[in-house]
Symmetry: C4
């Protein structure tokens, strides 16, 4: 049986770094996470502002500088995360490992394809990790309950979506034949796009039927859409109503992290990861409850 010492890095500084970066229970760990959250928010704001033509013309240089500053910061952080973890590849392939990498790539890619640098925005997903530091374990458990309800209605929703897809293909084809290119239904894929816009009750109005027959069919589509909006709602509602209020909600251990598979949400008194079976580190002493 592997002891705890073999799971998180042995050497002193790597071990300390691991606790600061991956754990949220020490003061240093909390400070690190809060700084990171702030950096993510500011850098995303920068990317957004840079996309506004008026602001880019004025403050383009400054924003570009900030972009590079944050990207290098996150690159260093990514390197540190790789160094201080026992099995770097596991981190790289974990959900947050992929997100962390995607957060720094766009700007480097932007050297070749200018537009792609705006994709740095995707780093907003890194905030998902922050549920932990904000001690939002109750929210987390309600989120898990929602996910459970959605997972339980997985198959029903698949069946529903498959029906919708078949429906829009047939409706799109019919509208293409009825209305034709002269009324904006330029091709079957465009007509399918119109059918989706209509069936989901979005109704942009960029393409609208002009012939009486087309309008009659569109009316049918809309009333159908109105009716079948009831189906996913019914599925999810029945599933949520079936569920019990989460019993884990008072458990403070939502901040614990498995050092093997990087999964979260372990119980306070858990010794082993419920996902990969690896041993969990003991909860730290100076934790703020």
């Amino acid at each position: 049986m592997p002891t705890q010492e073999t799971l998180i890095p042995l050497s002193g500084w790597r071990r300390k770094l691991y606790i600061i970066i991956y754990e949220a229970d020490t003061r240093a760990g909390r400070l690190f996470d809060l700084t990171l959250t702030l950096a993510i928010l500011v850098s995303v704001a920068c990317v957004m502002l840079e996309s506004v033509a008026g602001i880019r013309q004025r403050y383009g240089a400054l924003l570009s500088l900030l972009d590079w500053f944050f990207t290098i910061l996150f690159t260093v952080e990514y390197a540190l995360r790789l160094i201080c973890v026992h099995k770097p590849l596991r981190y790289v392939k974990s959900f947050f490992g992929v997100i962390d990498l995607l957060s720094i790539l766009p700007l480097y890619l932007g050297l070749f394809i200018p537009e792609s640098r705006f994709l740095a925005d995707i780093r907003i997903l890194r905030l998902l990790r922050m549920f932990r530091i904000l001690k939002l374990s109750r929210h987390l458990s309600e989120a898990l309950e929602l996910r459970r309800a959605l997972a339980a209605s997985r198959r029903k929703i698949t069946v529903f979506l498959a029906t919708v897809i078949l429906l829009v293909i047939i409706l799109g084809t019919l509208m293409y034949v009825i209305e034709g290119p002269e009324h904006g239904f330029t091709s079957i894929p465009i007509s399918i796009y119109w059918a989706i816009v209509t069936l989901t009750t979005v109704g942009f109005g960029d393409i609208t039927p002009k012939t009486p027959l087309g309008q009659a069919l569109a009316s049918l589509v809309m009333i159908t859409g109105y009716g079948i909006i009831a189906v996913p709602t019914g599925i999810v509602t029945a599933e949520i109503a079936r569920g019990k209020p989460a019993s884990r909600s008072d458990n403070q251990s939502a901040t614990r992290l498995c050092p093997h598979c990087f999964s979260e949400g372990h119980d306070w008194d858990a010794h082993f990861c419920k996902h990969c079976g690896g041993q969990l580190p003991r909860p730290s002493r100076d934790q703020v409850s």
Copy 2:
């Protein structure tokens, strides 16, 4: 009592063909179904691409050739389905029999009415049969549960739709009188179309009220629509919540087919069709579980 031998064709090759085409439990049957699925998907993609003006100009000849290739393929398949079945008329009148015929007609019709050849897209419905080969019996049983919930709320939904239809006729007439042709409400049918667009919260914006009175009535329509969207949802949700999780879900026999009435979803241990009472063929030996 009819024995099994009298139900599916007696002669060797017709019997073998029947098992390949209609059953999904032998290796040959699976291969046939997978090939068919692929052919359907590719041919639908061809029809869609052909409708895009840019692609038609370039690859029109090729796509037209493929269209004819697949249509002839499906025509041959239709003929084989007719030949190898004991009572061809039953197949012709069954749900999938009609779909199969509709899948091959458009291109032949297209020789007279060019536009109609795009309706070949309708063959996407043939994929519904593929639930069987993909062994999606769990999905099938959830689909049946959804259908049960919808069927149980049939009458309530009819009442609701009848109310909506009366409502849009009256609202459309009122808007026609209030706004008149000069604001786009050119006739009562068009105004009813507008009322449906608005009540279902689609809101294309191709026709909008301009007079204060018209806007006030439209506001009323929208708030009503917002309110009555609750009714079908409530009906379906209550029905789904009432239902038990399907108990048939572990039953592998969703791939069995009645050779008399072409119904599916027979239990693993069933000997007779639950819809027409006809005897079912024994499940094949080399079935992949």
Copy 3:
């Protein structure tokens, strides 16, 4: 205690007429109701067709003639209904009495205000009475169940609508101040109209925010609207789920009518009206079950 003879007209021909017109259980009564339904549908279709400019130019004279034919027919019918009933004023003030009158007035009014003749469409509401002749007692009982659910959630929906009205007034005012007349928000009432269009997720797009602040507020409105669409649905769903399946559904007496207050839905074995306490006529002998 009044005997049955004093309730429906005493004299032979008035009594016979009453049974034909108000009851649906004799052959003559059924024939009368079916003819009436047909006349209503055809006359409504005439009014609709007349509103289409192209058709009016061609067949205007014919349609106008048909309009007058049906209006005179319904006027005669209205007179007969008045004559053959024991207490005509009660009929005049009943729901269907008002509808019947509204169905014949528009054309006479149209002599003075031409546009108003299209309101004759309102006679489509007379079809509500036809639930009786079609023996749709099951549908009727489900409709009653829906009405019960809506009535039970009456107060919650009132509270909800009051909240929505306060909300759109404040949002409309804010948008008017933020965007101003130069972006289409020409007055507070128009801005309130926009707020309703947006909050109900209809989104015509005839008025849209142009300033960043306006778009931010609009985003807030939309997400709010998305959220609060859940409230009426939740109310109605909970109420429908609470209800039991209607137990009256097999009761054939939905075709019985109280000759005193013109209410419907009396039980098969009822002797007195459950609404006004008046004695009910015996169910006729040659009733089709």
Copy 4:
């Protein structure tokens, strides 16, 4: 223990004024509240009419006069409320104290920033207080039930909204990169605004995707929006269905007001405020039940 005399003002006229203004159980109090309601409705109507250009040009002077009349009236009322209450600061900081102040400020502010005077509309919120005088205690208790259901689903809705916000940021960024400024997606914030418009199924149509890839992504967004509209509905419905019908509904004491913290909804037989623990005045004798 404080006696009742120390809670509401001691001196005769302030005490009388307090009962008239803050209580709704005496005749004078009812008259005061009804007058106030009328004044609020008329003044809001004035502000709205003033915003319509045509009406402003004609009746601008009159409406401006009425504006000032009502603002001075409400200012005097605000002063009286301050004078007759024992602890004025508590009133100023209470919910209705803030609303009352916001109702009179805009016109004074309008002397410096003309547009802001339309914000006087916000005084419509003062009507919330009127639930009391209209003896709408049943509606109030249903409103409280709705609030309870919403409060109970607070965390689930927060999780849901956080997910939606992350989603629209990423979708907006992707659409900005795919479509670019030439198709109306001029910046990331505008693209996020578009994503919100689309995901909430509002669909103004002021910005629409033009490229095939953009339309494909938009289709995905719409189907997602269609699906996740089910989630808040499911949450709220499950919560409402869980709740019992309010048991307080027959309690007439919804018109009682705590003189300490200005909270409402105290039970008929309560002697102390359930929110701040202060002693409640006895219900008045001439109360209309």
